[in-house]
Amino acid sequence: MLSFIARRLLALIPILIGLSLIVFLIMALIPGDPALAILGSYATPESLTRLRAEMGLDHSLPVQYLIWLDNILHGDFGRSYSLNRPVLDEVVERFRATLILSATAFALCSIWGVLAGVVCAVRQNGWVDRMVTALVLIGISIPSFWLGLLLILLFAVRLHWLPASGMFAIYGGGDLLDLARHLVLPATTLSVVAAGVIARLTRASMLEVLRQDFIRTARAKGVAEASVIFRHAFKAALVNITPVLGVQAGFVLGGAVYVETIFQWPGIGRMLVTAISTRDILLVQGGVLVVAASYVLFNLIADVVQHLLDPRVRT
């Protein structure tokens, strides 16, 4: 087990290097001069040269990459020119907000998705199954940015039950309860799509497993039906569900961009969108890198869980 984790950690190194390379290259290959973008078209040639030197733009690409990587490994992600503060500080602050939102959404969608999927499989073609299947279809077809608007219109504008924006009330508040009230709408919006996908897959996977020969063996042994469903079928289906949960975590983390924009959630997604439109390259680089790296780590966890569940991959 330990050696498996060690091997997986080792395998992370090339992925992280690749990630950093992609992020760096994409930004380096942006047409146009970042220095010019920062200083504007009225900048003097001297100040442009100075800024270019400051940003390391006068080196060759590989050297630029190495300098950049070295800085990042030392925790120096550069300075955001639009916010005029260290990129890392901004990213960490924003990422915390995103994590709160997406972790809640992910927990919601995993629980709902798996539960709905199992119930549908067990009651295949019953009314519960039909209803959930219809809901799932709506869930995976609905644009989350539209769903968010509708929820705001209904619960915030019409009913005044829940706040429409922000993470904490502007005046006062700031406690956990306040956070929870602000979380309800965005987390629900964010979880809908992933819950649909997970429910679908769980249902299909359960149905597939229930047809297997070893389920017939369990029934031939006289095992109680509840045990057949949960101990035998669900356990086997879980092996197929875990990797999908990993992928869905990525959807939730990425989908946070829309939800944060709609609900004015001070997360990293909204920061990135702003940074892209203001061409704050260092901020984009830093943000993307941190989110991607954390996602890679999350996938590692999913892998380890998978490994624990399935003895066949263990050998």
Binding site: I15, S141, L207, G222, A292
Partner: protein
Amino acid sequence: MNGRLSRLPGSAPRRAAAKAALSVLARNRPAAVGAIILALIVVIALLTPVLPLLPPDAIDPANRLIPPLNAGRTLGTDQLGRDMLARLLWGARLSLAVGLAATFVAALAGSSIGVCAGYFGRWIDALLMRAIDMLMAFPYVLLALTIVAALGPGLFNAMIAVAVVNIPFFARNLRGSTLGIVHREFIDAARLSGKGDFSILVSEVLPNVAPVIVITMSTTVGWMILETAGLSFLGLGSQPPQADLGSMLGEGRKLLLNAPFVSTIPGAVIFLLVIGVNLVGDGIRDALDPRLRSGAIARPSPVTAISRGRAAVDAGHSQGVLQVRTLSTEFQTAGETYKAVNSVSFAIRNGECLGLVGESGSGKSVTALSLLALVQSPPGTITEGAVLLDGEDVLSKSAAALRFIRGGRASYVFQDPQSTLHPLLTIGEQVAEALRAHQPVSRVKAWDKAVRLLDLVRIPNAKRRAHAFPHELSGGMRQRVGIAMALANHPEVLIADEPTTALDVTVQAQVLKLMNELRMRDSAAVLFITHDFGVASDICDRIAVMYAGQIVEMGAAEDVLERPAHPYTRRLIDCVPALGSGIRSFRAIGGAPPAANRLPSGCAFADRCDFAVAECRARPVGFVAVASNHLARCLHPLEARGERTSA
């Protein structure tokens, strides 16, 4: 068993298969609804340029934010006084086009990568898939954002970004299905026929993975429409004045409180479009997935459906611990009825072993599964008969009562120990579970007993091996576990369904020996199903031969094997020359058994029989006693004609 059942209806001709796929699509009501929605949107999108609409970009500040159904504006106007209806139709047209374009780009690039990786393998596979892993390492939308950040905002760039993000789905799916095909023998056959790599890829691999491409497209196109709209919503896709549905929503969002219709209406159109696409996509997936087509994905119920027309047979005097009377089981699929078991009757006494011998499709396995209602329903139904265990009809019992009989008084050993053991539970747990399902013992006690049972079936080092998972054991060892499970509760009846067919001969001999010893020890009644007369001869006291769902001959093992009365038994035995006999020729039986959905009214073997006369085909043939306790379903049994052996 499963494979054979699901193949029953699959033998339709190919053109009919295509037609079946279409009819599945047509019968699928949700898909039909989706198709109508989608067709409507597509037609309107195509007609938009010729429809009498106001210009979508004409600014008219005087008529700002007119609500829908006012002043001749069907859907009102937006913040710049532009006609919403016109903008909506042009926007839908754009969103649809961009979504489809992204899908095609992703499908082309992703499928090429996946097929090449799967086909060539080795370093090409490693290289391509590491690159794909890299793309997958970014959370979905984030990668699209990054690409747009690099290329700059714009609809074309957004399309490229969304396509790139979806490449991994195609690459992974196609790699998987290509891998499944590359090792098939027909690829080797093509190579032996002189084909090169390119030709094999194009004409052997591609046609077989094409459905996967279509399925992946149909499941991702909805996503891609949503994602391009999403990027536009964030202001990174279409740039003003050009507007797709997403950017309309994004711009209108600022007016949510005063004029919600400006943003909600485009959102509703996106939703409608995507739901239409997804409904059709699901329909396509269902139609192309052969497993769904045959209805095999349906969850089998724990107990076979039983609909016996006749009242249950009276529990008359018992001829044995297990008595089966006129048992019939059918499979209903696609409007066809397959009579797998057709009025089968037999009885087994304590300590006796009855061999049920027949070729594939003869109904022997379905008979075995019907005894404790383990046939999958749907599509199976027990239509007639009774299974008497100590004189009590098993098939009349409730599901709960049946559960206590299964694995308790009657238990099974199945054919393929690879698939019949749970892959994620240790063998000790699986044996202990069989005990705990029937005996009130503690977990620890059950485990101890399980280890003793594993020892009994001669699994070396049982104490340690009890912690092993099935995949860690050889086939022979796994089958021993199956036997241990079956014997856990000292059953009165043991039903063994081809327990040694998947094993090598030397292992088979050992397992047979073990089974023989243990059944003697427990003096259990055994129903032993096999296709091999040699195996039956080794272990069985009596033999029943099945053909086309019926028992055609039954009697003591040596009588049936040495003096077969039914021509089918005779010919089947002669098909395999006895080992060591030095015979160097075969006497094959011409023709094939009748299909289970088109059984003749007379003798099912008549068409392949040398002695058939008109009378044989006229009406069902009953049993004739050729000797004491030796029955044959034949009007002209061999013995009676004085024809002994013909070989």
